[in-house]
């Protein structure tokens, strides 16, 4: 058993001379909910994209269960057991909710090369189980394009769970949702993670969500990791208060547009 599900070792990335992520190291422990926070432009999204394969780090290593996955394409990172959700929800609009989840399941089982079997015959039952788990059983037959935003987030979650991930990466999981919905979604994520022994790494702006659901918190500022610890430790950290919470402990306006 590895101590860390995912481990970042001194990863860094620069954009035109600006160090967006600078020598960041941390580990995600098995089964924990780890929050990555920081002010706008701190490098959260870049850091995330280095982990999920969208960006290749200039230096450093990323290891999943002890195996080096640095610079692997997102597709291959997924195959190693990493699920992810996007800041702006991404589902397949021309398919029903059930078909979305079915497709992810089929992909996980290596069934996408099948040209002759009708898709509806494969993995339908498993898709229903997953949809039930995220509370969408009633919406299974509706097209994703007509779903409410909060429900789409749940579809994404079900899709992300399709490959039984060891680690779930969630970029701003509650961005754009109403306050009550946020709590509901994160409670669901925490529950599922506990059931499956799955680790979750998420970035978040809503401090309520962070402090009520994270087991540990990482704080980034200007590309550097400035603090790491339990929510209470981070809250008490003087440096964090200075650079981040000093401004009155207020959640920032959401959907940080500058981070891409």
């Amino acid at each position: 058993m590895h101590r860390f599900t995912l481990e970042a070792q001194g990863i860094q990335k620069s954009f035109g001379g600006v160090r967006a992520v600078d020598q960041v190291s941390f580990g995600v422990r098995a089964g924990e909910m780890l929050a990555l926070i920081g002010p706008n432009g701190a490098g959260k999204s870049t850091c995330f994209n280095l982990l999920n394969g969208h960006l290749r780090p200039d230096g450093g290593r990323v290891k999943l269960l002890g195996q080096d996955i640095t610079g692997l394409a997102p597709r291959k990172v997924w195959k190693r057991g990493v699920g992810r959700t996007f800041q702006i929800t991404a589902t397949f609009g021309s398919m029903t909710v059930r078909e979305n989840v079915q497709l992810a399941l089929q992909s996980h089982r290596g069934e996408l090369g099948r040209l002759w079997t009708p898709s509806w015959r494969l993995r339908g039952g498993q898709a229903d189980t997953l949809l039930e788990r995220v509370g969408l059983a009633g919406q299974a037959r509706r097209p994703c394009s007509v779903l409410a935003y909060g429900d789409l987030k749940r579809v994404e979650l079900a899709i992300a769970l399709a490959n039984n991930p060891r680690l779930l990466l969630m970029d701003e999981p509650t961005a754009g949702m109403a306050p009550q919905e946020r709590v509901g979604l994160m409670a669901l994520v925490a529950e599922v993670a506990r059931e499956r022994g799955m680790s979750v790494l998420f970035t978040e702006h809503d401090m309520d969500v962070v402090f009520s659901h994270a087991d540990r918190v990482l704080v980034l500022d200007r590309g550097r990791l400035i603090a790491e610890g339990t929510p209470d430790e981070v809250r008490a950290n003087a440096l964090v208060q200075e650079v981040y919470l000093g401004s009155g402990f207020e959640p920032e306006p959401e959907a940080e547009a500058s981070a891409c």
Binding site: N52, A73, P74, R75, W78, K79, R84, F86, A90, T91, F92, G93, S94, M95, T96, E99, Q102, L103, A104, Q106, S107, H108, E111, L112, G113, R114, L115, W116, T117, P118, S119, W120, L122, P143, S145, I159, A162, N163
Partner: protein, 614 residues
């Protein structure tokens, strides 16, 4: 040496004209994102109008140059009118529908020109005072060509000034970068779009008018020009003026020197260059990624459902009639038309497979149809193969071409990908046209007759069987996990990759499959006609397939079937009934585009569902 200089100057003159047309197209595309197929028609109109206007004005400098300018302005006005009456209504429609609309315009303009100016080539007057030639290093070079060489750079300069120094130009540049943003800043987009259309069309008109003293005015100017100009604009990078200028220079000189260096492959050369440029620089020489493209036409594709049972039964009934009725039909004509229809359905269904589920546009699908046809025909001609083995070889040949061409095409996206398919199709066409020893060139491959057992009726049943099986197979594949994965990468590539879908691989396989099925259609075509000519893979045939798919509707699996039947039937009837079938067909297309942006199948289904809910 002298010859080289002369060719260089000739190249400059054609580069200059090419640039004038291309600059208009690229400016229009930059702002409105419309790939205007009708731009070549505007060019042709410029030439015709100049011919008539100059003839009515007094002779002399004023009459000639005044006529040229008046013609350009008139074409500009026609372009603006086109924007207001037609395109303005469909800016929100999918990109391909706009393309279909502009193609409708091409057809209408062709026949209007035929009606007004007749079918014979017209010879315009020479430019007053520029009839002679100048001596350059002991060689004579026409004075008018020299003037033409000068006009290109002057227009480029004026355009750059216009775009850099005026408020209007600033707005156009801003809209080229991010049209949503310009709208958000409160700029009146309607006026901006109309004025851009005026300018772009006027440039095309000017280029056409300036050809008057150089060559005869004829009805083929439109398509001949639009292909060349597409190449220029794409090589330069869509929306980029300097790009268009550089590419025009490149293509113009390539033409001039290609004749000297590679007389055997002149036709291929231009498209080869385009293919190479796009492979190395997927957005052309000066092209840039577009911002906020998603916001333009982000209409979610509907869920692929099963057809309502009643419609399904209707389809079965129609098929039954198609199988049972033909023996009772009198004469071969009906059988020939029905066979054509069966072939068209399969051809359209294969194109639909990459356009609908795949989300890729192909302007060159005829390549695979034609390669299938030539494959089967050449096997019978050179190896005396019987019909069935030859038919089996057809999809194989087309599939191999699909593997090769598809590898490059599916890596690009949108218009660039479509243009690369066009380039490959033109390369295939040029090979068929210029490799006379093997293909017979323009004379085609003759004597590709079916086996004795395949009478007209039996062959029809064979074609129908292949068509039905092929279309159903494509449908089944579209509904398989592979088909879903294909649609997934179309809907959202990022998400698709995040669940382990190899988008490139999916597109490539889909491309090869579509090529293979088009090849089957092509093979059948060869035996149905008993011969194959280069027209089997020319641009009009690719456009026919596009028309069928778009008429039927991209979003439903039944679309291409209906579209192919409607198009073939209409086409057949019109050609028999009137000399001006293009005019009618174009008008029908325009009406359909305005009335049913979902295509025929979508409209029928919506009407059906609406009736049931009512």
């Amino acid at each position: 040496m002298e010859n080289l200089l002369l060719q260089g100057l000739n190249g400059l003159a054609s580069a200059s004209s090419l640039f004038l047309v291309a600059s208009g197209l690229t400016v229009i595309f930059g702002v409105t994102r419309i790939v205007n197929f009708a731009h070549g028609s505007l060019y042709m109109l410029g030439a015709y109008l100049a011919f008539s206007i100059v003839a009515h004005l007094p002779r002399g400098h004023l009459g000639f140059w005044g006529g040229i300018v008046l013609a350009a302005l008139a074409v500009g006005a026609i372009g603006a009118l086109l924007e207001v009456l037609l395109l303005r209504r469909i800016y929100r429609a999918p990109e391909l529908f706009q393309l279909l609309a502009t193609f409708g315009v091409v057809l209408v303009v062709q026949d209007v020109a035929l009606l007004v100016w007749g079918a014979q080539d017209l010879l315009g007057p020479r430019a007053p005072g520029l009839r002679g030639s100048v001596e350059l290093l002991g060689l004579r070079f026409p004075l008018y060509e020299l003037v033409l060489i000068g006009i290109g750079p002057v227009v480029l300069g004026l355009l750059l000034l216009l775009f850099k120094r005026t408020r209007w130009g600033t707005l156009v540049r801003a809209a080229t970068q991010d049209r949503e943003m310009v709208g958000a800043l409160g700029v009146n987009q309607r006026w901006l779009f109309t004025s851009v259309f005026f300018l772009g069309s006027a440039l095309a008109g000017l280029a056409g008018a300036l050809q008057l003293p150089r060559e005869s005015v004829n009805l083929h100017m439109d398509l001949a020009t639009i292909t060349e100009v597409f190449v220029v604009v794409v090589v330069g990078g869509l929306g980029s003026l300097p790009g268009a200028a550089l590419a025009a220079l490149l293509i113009g000189e390539l033409h001039a020197f290609g004749i000297l260096v590679f007389p055997k492959i002149t036709l291929v050369l231009v498209f080869l260059v385009m293919a190479v440029v796009l492979v190395i620089r997927p957005r052309g020489l000066f092209g840039r990624a577009q911002v906020a493209q998603a916001a333009v036409a982000s209409v979610a594709e509907p869920v692929l459902g099963r057809a309502p049972p009643a419609l399904k039964w209707l389809g079965f009934a129609a098929l039954l009639v198609a199988v049972v009725a033909p023996p009772f039909l009198a004469g071969d004509y009906a059988l020939i038309v029905l066979t054509d229809m069966a072939i068209a359905v399969l051809f359209a269904a294969s194109l639909h497979f990459i356009m609908g589920p795949g989300g890729m546009a192909s302007f060159g699908h005829a390549a695979y149809f034609g390669i299938g046809a030539y494959g089967a025909a050449l096997l019978t001609k050179w190896f005396a193969a019987p019909m069935l083995p030859a038919l089996l070889a057809a999809p194989f040949c087309a599939g191999v071409a699909g593997v090769l061409f598809g590898f490059f095409c599916v890596r690009l996206s949108g218009v660039y990908s479509a243009m690369l398919t066009l380039a490959f199709a033109q390369i295939a066409w040029s090979v068929a046209f210029q490799w006379v020893e093997i293909t017979g060139g323009d004379n085609g491959v003759l004597g590709v007759w079916p086996d004795p057992w395949a009478t007209k009726l039996n062959f029809y049943w064979l074609a129908l069987g292949c068509s039905v099986v092929g279309t159903l197979a494509l449908r089944r594949i579209a509904l398989s996990p592979f088909g879903y994965a294909l649609r997934a990468q179309r809907d959202n590539t990022l998400r698709a990759e995040a669940i382990g879908i190899n988008a490139f691989g999916m597109r490539w396989v889909a491309f090869v499959l579509a090529a293979g099925f088009a090849g089957v259609a092509g093979g059948l075509f060869a035996f149905a006609k008993g011969s194959v000519f280069p027209t089997a893979l020319d641009i009009p045939r690719s456009v026919d397939a596009l028309l069928m798919v778009l008429l039927g509707g991209v979003q439903t699996l039944a679309g291409p079937v209906l579209g192919a039947l409607a198009f073939t039937g209409l086409h057949e009837q019109l050609v028999r009934a009137t000399d001006y079938w293009r005019l009618v067909l174009g008008a029908v297309i325009l009406l359909l585009v305005l009335a049913f942006p979902q295509g025929l199948a979508g409209a029928v289904r919506r009407w059906w569902e609406g009736r049931r809910h009512a």
